[in-house]
Symmetry: C2
């Protein structure tokens, strides 16, 4: 079988981590006699500077001709951020209606963390991915008058909550049977209470999954203090953004955090991306950690049914990370991106 | 001089930590020949059950006859949460127009934490305290139709941002000269960009303070990964809520986190409260950690100009905490609330 992969390397360290990942995915597939067919798109900051838009108007259609998208990162100091966020990252998520953003965090043996006692941490954040605080609605009243009033409107629909909830309950059912909903219904009166209500209702269809509801502030503390008490978390777009950066710390930081933007049950390509950004400060130095991108690639293979190849990638990453000589600077080591890539390839050949 | 203190012990462990704190404050004041005059208000969950309201309609007026308020905690399983949140905590903050919520976090030597390498952590979160996501505006469209739409409206006014910003810049100027503004302007287009703009403008009046702007997701990770890179943080009501619970982990958890709700420069009593809640699970057992409440009391003394007494309380707390025999269960010890109170009194006598 052939996997038709769209690749958006993007800016900064994006192209570096993508370049380290694609051969890894290819090797993992070829071990099963499968093939990887790559189409690369030059979308991102450079394209914006050249053509005035970070991606073409028919970007969603182009991507739909492939099976899945591997996305590096976008962002450059000389491009207005919203051109890349709204013009690409959030734009594409919303145009493809990728309802759910999955952000797994797993502590690999041998990787140092700033948090004590993270052995065995293995959790997934299911983040609603299309609305909430990210709809871009609102405005500024009395702008420039000295009495400016910034109004930000968040929208939480039953439909979006239900889609994310079904995915989260099903996932929890396949894992520990425990689901933790994170909201803030004591201070916010409409959106989050609706979340609480709808998720409880959806939960009636999953009698084997135990639902717990936790306030986002308490969850931030618990994430660090008792991470092993957590398995599957379900939350809104904004809270998922905050909690997933935090959770990454449990695995050694942003260089270790993969993600998948998907529309469960539909024939739409998912976007798989490391949670870290373009990191202009270290770009071009060959020192970026490619693990987050590789693990995103493993999620991609899994979702396309290539579970053997996905396991191969993950096991090879885990194997390489056991040796501190394969740790990049963010993990306290001095391996280059290429060092990690070849260590992972090597581990895969030895499997 | 006499300090006229209003005390709202509240529910759960609230009365326990307040009972441990008041004698400490009294002793600290008396060492300077000053006096503490306490008026206790029975507001909270029990009053709601008895009288249908968590506090009386003229609560703000009653409190205004005192110099400051020491607040324990409210919340009981048999009382609807919003009666206590909107009917008391948020209600009183907003009625007294307490513009700023200060949440200092300091790692005391001898106190274990889940985060490595927290020695010397000493930061303050300046949280806007009257609006943002906490205005209670919004509604549910199509309620119950199966297409419910929860709409949550956040309001960020130049006035509120300026008030918080002036306080934060002045504080940073007296401390390290560094201020970190936390927003989320890449995904939210109106409120947080206004924050960025207004804070930058206010900063022009504080040329000696260096301003850095960080996204809330990145800050959540940095809070754990590089807490000593932080001194004064300025942020919105919601982000301040989340980040302050997280920061408390650096000091050993919620049992260590004090706060002050104040209206800088005005003759309005501040509300000083531990950040932890009523903790019904451990209430009545005499095992609550009173340190957060005691440190809130020290902030109160400081703000009333009793800086010597405030220092006395803080030093005594620090002294007691050096010995693990004075650690409560949340810190891994088995001291009771009363044990800590007497250790602190003892430390103060020995000063
Ligand atoms: C770039 C930004 C808009 C984005 C988000 O907030 O979703 C990023 O932080 C992420 O988590 O993917
Ligand atoms: C009780 C709740 C409304 C409150 C808040 O979110 O402000 C609490 O979490 C706090 O931080 O003081």
């Amino acid at each position: 079988k052939v996997v038709r992969l769209a690749v958006i390397p993007g800016d900064g360290i994006g192209p570096e981590v993508v370049a380290a990942t694609v051969p890894t995915l290819r090797a993992a597939l070829e071990a099963d006699g499968d093939r990887l067919d790559v189409t690369s798109f030059d979308w991102g900051g450079e394209r914006f500077l050249r053509q005035g838009a970070a991606m073409p108007a028919d970007a969603a259609d182009l991507v739909k001709r492939t099976d899945a998208v591997l996305f590096g990162a976008v962002g450059r100091p000389d491009v207005p951020e919203h051109e890349l966020i709204w013009g690409l990252i959030i734009g594409l998520r919303q145009q493809l209606d990728l309802a759910v953003n999955l952000r797994p965090v797993r502590a690999f043996p041998g990787v140092p963390t700033k948090v004590r006692d993270t052995d065995g941490v293995d959790l997934v954040i299911v983040r609603e991915n299309t609305e909430g605080e990210y709809v871009g609605a609102g405005g500024v009243a009395h702008a420039g008058s000295g009495h400016d009033l910034g109004i930000e409107v968040a929208v939480h629909s039953r439909r979006a909550i239900e889609r994310a909830a079904h995915h989260a309950f099903a996932l929890a059912g396949r894992r520990s049977g425990r689901l933790c909903l994170v909201t803030k219904s004591n201070a916010m009166r409409y959106g989050y209470p609706l979340w609480d209500r709808v998720v409880r209702e959806v939960g009636e269809r999953y009698p084997l999954v135990q639902l717990e509801t936790v306030l986002v502030d308490a969850m931030a503390a618990r994430m660090i203090q008792a991470p092993r008490s957590l398995d599957v978390l379900l939350t809104s777009n904004l809270f998922g953004d905050i909690l997933s950066d935090l959770a990454a710390v449990l695995a050694g930081g942003m260089g270790m955090a993969p993600s998948a933007n998907v529309l469960p049950g539909a024939d739409v390509p998912g976007i798989y991306e490391p949670v870290h950004g373009s990191a202009p400060d270290i770009a071009g130095k060959g020192m970026a950690n490619p693990v987050a991108c590789m693990l995103s690639g493993a999620m991609l293979l899994d979702d396309l049914g290539h579970t053997g190849a996905a396991r191969r990638v993950r096991d090879a990453v885990a194997g390489a990370l056991r040796d501190t000589r394969h740790h990049t600077a963010d993990l306290g080591g001095n391996a280059t991106t290429a060092d990690v890539a070849s260590a992972v390839q090597h581990a895969m050949e030895g499997q």
